[in-house]
Structures are given as C-alpha cells and as structure tokens.
C-alpha cells in the first residue's frame, strides 16, 4: 500500500519524500484531490463517531468483535473483487461461487467424515476452479466484457449448489478446523479477523512488491499499452479471476466456520456487497486505481452501517437504501477526481 499512498500524496500535491511543494499543496485543485483520497477514511471515522454517540452499545468490545466477524466474509471476497475491478473487470459470480464452495465443503465433510485439511482444500479448489473458468472463457472466448461470463457462472454455481446440496438446502456440520477459523476468538478478536489480516498482508505483497501486481495495475491503467509493452495481458486477467475465485473459497471457509454449515443459500447478493465495498472504499470503478485498503475500508463501512442500524432498530430496507446512497456518493467522488486530475494536468502544462 505504501507505494500507492506515496504516489497519491504526491498526486495531490502534498509534501512527499521530504520534498515539499509549497505552492502546489496550497492550490484548491491539489487540496480537493487530497480530500478525495482520504474521503472514505474520513467518512468511516465520521460514521463511527456518530454511531457511538447515537447508541452507547456500539463501541462495546463485544459489539466491535461482532462487527469484525460480520465484516470478515465481505472483506475477504472484496479483496479479490478489488483486483478484478482494478483490471477493468467485474466478478458477479463471487456470491454463488462461495455458496457452491460451502456446499462442496459440506459434501466432502460427509463423504470423508472428518479431515479439516481435506474439506478446506476442497472449498479453496472449488472457488479457484470457478474463478479460473471465468477467466479462461472471458479471455480465450474473446468475450467483450466479463459481466456476461460471470453472470452466467453466478447462475450456474447457484444452480449446482442447490441441485447437489442434500435436500437442496443448508447442510449442518463442519470439521473443527473450519469452525476454529470461523467461530472461535483469540485475544478478544474473532479468528476470522486474523484470516483477513493474513490475506491482506499476502495481497499487499503480491500487488506492491511482485511483478504480477505491477502488471495488474498496468492492465488496468492501459490494456492496449500493456500488450505493446510485452505483458501477457491474457494470463494476467486469467490469474486475476482465478484469484478472485480463491478469495470466494476462503470466504466460504470462514462463513462455514461461523455457521457450522454449508448452504446453497449463502452469499446471496455478496457480489453487490463486495463491489460496493470496493467502490465506497475509494477504488476507481473504471479500473487502474485502487488498492487493498480500499476494499477493507469499504467492507468495514458496510459492516459498521449494518451493525449500527441494527442496534438502532432501523429496518433492513433502510440499510439497503443507505448503502445505495453511499455508492452514488462514492462514484461521484471518482468522477470528481478525474475532473480535478485534468485540472492538475493543465496546471502542469502551464507551469512549464
């Protein structure tokens, strides 16, 4: 993350690397860009303050731990979604993919009767396989956009999960290892939070320190140029969708652990939650810009809003409306940022 934050500081004209740019940091354009970059974090902080004033229960350790547990699945799957959106794509299948993976896990648990390792591996493989199919058909089937492909796998995965789950519904029972990851707490924090933390670190290294990550930014920034610079754009895309599938598989493990079950009904509308998390977290819907922090902040925002509105006894329909409004604000902020960058560019030209 450090890399991008550094870029972003500079792009907003803030002092960077000890090199102060006094004139730039005072200009309203630079100030606006900077504000937009920190906007999601500010809004999250604001929400926390407002909710803790409105309802005293909000800041209690038990409730905070609750929020983390409720946010974990969205956060995990949103990390994959963020990478897909970074490359100018979208993955509508993550929710159904997750449901299918929990069903696969449940079935494997019954068939093999026990081993946590086997069940977890099966869930991760199921998720990755679906992501791989998404990527391969999208890229090598020359589809114009991943929207249709992942819409198709959404339907296929949900159908498979319903068809093959026992009695076409929730199946109780998960191995201890899965329960440990999803249900248990350590140091007052749910274990699923540590899963999120571990994944975030891995994704951070992959995207900021590895060539693969640089290439995902290149593909998102300018796919045509990426081809011209000799990057195998096709395999970057395939691996990105496969990774998004893996994230859905990890999300499946955590959710199965929390509920002690596998179910074809899990993950409904999770694709929308994860897309919303990425966008309201501050990543660009047009690709090329965003990092793991955006996905995490966005997921946390959704978790906080849902939790607090629950505590305040606000109906679930109003929660949907609230999140929808925030999405509009976030997308508008993205548009605003492009506009301000254009202004900054003109200033650079005139300054020459």
């Amino acid at each position: 993350m450090s890399d991008t934050t550094r870029q972003r500081d500079i792009s907003s004209g803030a002092p960077a690397g000890g090199r102060a740019q006094a004139s730039a940091s005072l200009s309203p354009v630079a100030f606006g860009l900077r504000l937009l970059n920190f906007g999601p974090l500010l809004i999250l902080a604001l929400l926390v303050v407002v909710f803790s004033v409105l309802t005293p229960n909000f800041l209690k350790p038990g409730n905070l731990s609750n929020i983390l547990a409720q946010t974990a699945v969205i956060a995990i799957v949103a990390m994959g979604q963020q990478l897909v959106i970074l490359t100018r794509g979208i993955d509508l299948s993550v929710g159904a993919n997750l449901a299918l993976a929990t069903v696969v896990g449940g079935l494997v648990f019954r068939a093999t009767d026990g081993s946590g390792f086997v069940v977890i591996t099966a869930m991760l493989l199921a998720g990755t396989a679906v992501g791989l199919v998404n990527g391969l058909v999208f890229v090598f089937g020359r589809l114009p956009h991943p929207f249709i492909m992942t819409l198709a796998t959404l339907s296929i995965c949900r159908g498979l999960a319903l068809q093959f789950s026992i009695n076409n519904t929730t199946m109780r029972g998960m191995p201890d290892a899965v329960l440990f990851l999803g249900e248990t707490s350590a140091l007052g924090v749910p274990n699923s939070f540590y899963v999120v933390l571990g994944m975030a670190l891995i994704v951070l290294v992959m995207t900021k320190s590895m060539v693969w990550g640089r290439w995902t930014y290149a593909v998102g920034g300018n796919p045509k140029a990426a081809v011209e610079m000799g990057i195998s754009v096709k395999w970057v895309l395939v691996s990105t969708y496969a990774f998004a599938g893996l994230c859905a598989g990890i999300g499946a493990v955590v959710l199965s652990g929390r509920t002690g079950a596998g179910s074809p009904l899990y993950g409904t509308l999770l694709e929308l939650d994860t897309i919303a998390a990425v966008i309201i977290g501050g990543a660009s819907f047009l690709g090329g810009r965003g990092h793991i922090g955006h996905a995490l902040i966005g997921a946390l925002m959704i978790g906080v809003i849902r939790n607090a509105l629950n505590l305040l006894n606000v109906g679930v329909f109003y929660q949907m409306i609230a999140i929808g409004v925030i999405i509009v604000v976030a997308v508008e902020a993205d548009v605003m940022r492009s506009y301000l960058e254009g202004r900054a560019r003109n200033q650079a030209a005139r300054a020459q």
Binding site: M210, R214, Y217, A225, E228, R289
Partner: protein
C-alpha cells in the same frame, strides 16, 4: 556514417488486412545502423500499421521481417523487444496510473530472484527508480514530480517520457511514430536531439513525422507510403522537397 552492408531491419513485401481494409499492400523497406529512415505518408497511409507489425503487435498476413538478414518471427511485442526493437507508439503507450520509473520498466521490471517466472518475482523498485532518474537526468527532460503518476503530467512531458523509455532500452532498431506531434518548438528540438543521439549510438532509427523540415534535417533516406503502397524512396533534400510532398499527397509532380 558507416552503414553496414546488411540492413539491421528489412521488411519484405508486407501485407496486412483488417477485415475489408487492406492497410499494407506489399511494402518493403530497409533500415541501416547509424541511419535515420523517414517513413512518410498522409493520414491512413498505413505507417502506424507497419510500425505495429514490426513491433510484434500485429502479425503480417504476408511477407517477412528480417533482422540482420535473418528472417525472424515477431509474433508478440515481447519478442520484438527482446530482439532489440524499441517503439515509441503514436498514442505513447503510457500508463496513467504509474510513475515515470514504473512506466519505463513496465513489462521488463528489474526483479529477483531470476529463477522464478517473471510475474512471481519481486520488484527491485530502488534500482528502477535510480536508473530511470539518471536517464531522465541525462536526457535533460524536465519533470516536476518524478514520483507522481504520469496522469498528472502535460502532453510534452508525457511524450518525453515515452521517448526516453525507448532510448533506455534501444539496442538495435528504434521506431518513433510521430514523436513530436504534441510538442512545442523547444520540446521538439529535444526529441530531435534524442533521435540524433540514438543514431550516433549505432541504432537503425525509423522516424515517422509530418514535419518536412525535420525530415530534411535528420533523415538519410525517406520511404513514402500512400494507401498501403510504397510509392517512392529517395534521399530527402531541400531540392526535392516538392517531389517528396507530391509523393505523399499523390498529386502529379
């Protein structure tokens, strides 16, 4: 100027079709080390298409490309780059979301450990930053913020970055597709200096431009395309400037 007998790059009877559009209709040319070859033609003549075929972006439908007299298959841009062909594309091929240094090395990052497949390697960001900074310095390109994404830079700065990127890696053939199109006088001068330098370093340079002054000043030879055909090849001089222009626009000389 000591042009070797064998051209660094030869294109033989190149054909390229895009559906119904026959963009190249049997074009041949030779580019020699230490020389500048001007590639001229009106808009839509097929110049960029030829460039993109040489750079491995498009595959030729017919014809062949030879490097140092040997037929080569340049089926991907990575292959062309490995063969020492550097291209400044007409649209610059820059990544707005990356810094100049990241743009420089995109697709061939300095990375370790070497035994891993490239995508799985770790970036050596410091080496790339230093290397890019020294190049930018050497070329006297003025960038206000070296570590800002290029989205925030002016047209001239962006063009300078694209040209500088090609000059770093130039080993054999350098192609510049309208590199001065967006530039003012002073910036154009800088790019032309770079073209000089690339030539003096022993590269075969192919320069596409609409500016006849630049052609006469820089080019050792000029190849003219019209509607996908090669319609002439001559040594551009002040004396035959009119002939050159009429070849380009297709008027009777």
């Amino acid at each position: 100027m000591n042009a070797a007998a064998v051209p660094a790059l030869s294109v033989r009877d190149a054909h390229k079709r895009f559906g119904a559009v026959h963009a190249l209709k049997g074009v041949s040319l030779d580019a020699y080390r230490g020389q500048v070859l001007a590639l001229l033609g009106d808009n839509g003549a097929g110049k960029s298409t030829l460039v993109r075929c040489i750079s491995g972006v498009h595959a030729l439908d017919e014809g062949e490309i030879l490097l140092d007299g040997e037929a080569v298959a340049l089926s991907t841009p990575a292959q062309a780059r490995r063969a020492g062909i550097e291209t400044v594309y007409q649209d610059l091929a820059l990544f707005d979301n990356l810094t100049p240094a990241q743009n420089f090395y995109c697709g061939r990052e300095i990375s370790f450990p070497r035994w891993l497949p490239r995508p799985l390697r770790f970036l050596n960001a410091r080496a790339m930053d230093q290397e890019a900074a020294s190049v930018i310095d050497r070329l006297k390109v003025k960038l206000p913020k070296f570590d800002a994404p290029v989205a925030l830079m002016s047209g001239g700065q962006r063009q300078a970055i694209a040209v500088a990127r090609a000059t770093v890696f130039a080993r054999n053939v350098v192609i510049l597709d309208e590199p001065t199109a967006a530039l003012g006088l002073r910036e154009s001068r800088k790019v032309l200096d770079l073209v000089h330098q690339l030539r003096d370093e022993g590269n075969a340079v192919i320069l596409i431009t609409h500016n006849m002054e630049h052609v006469i000043e820089l080019a050792d030879r000029a190849v003219v395309l019209r509607q996908g055909h090669k319609v002439g090849e001559l040594k551009p001089e002040r004396a035959n400037q009119h002939e050159l222009v009429s070849l380009i626009v297709g008027a009777e000389a």
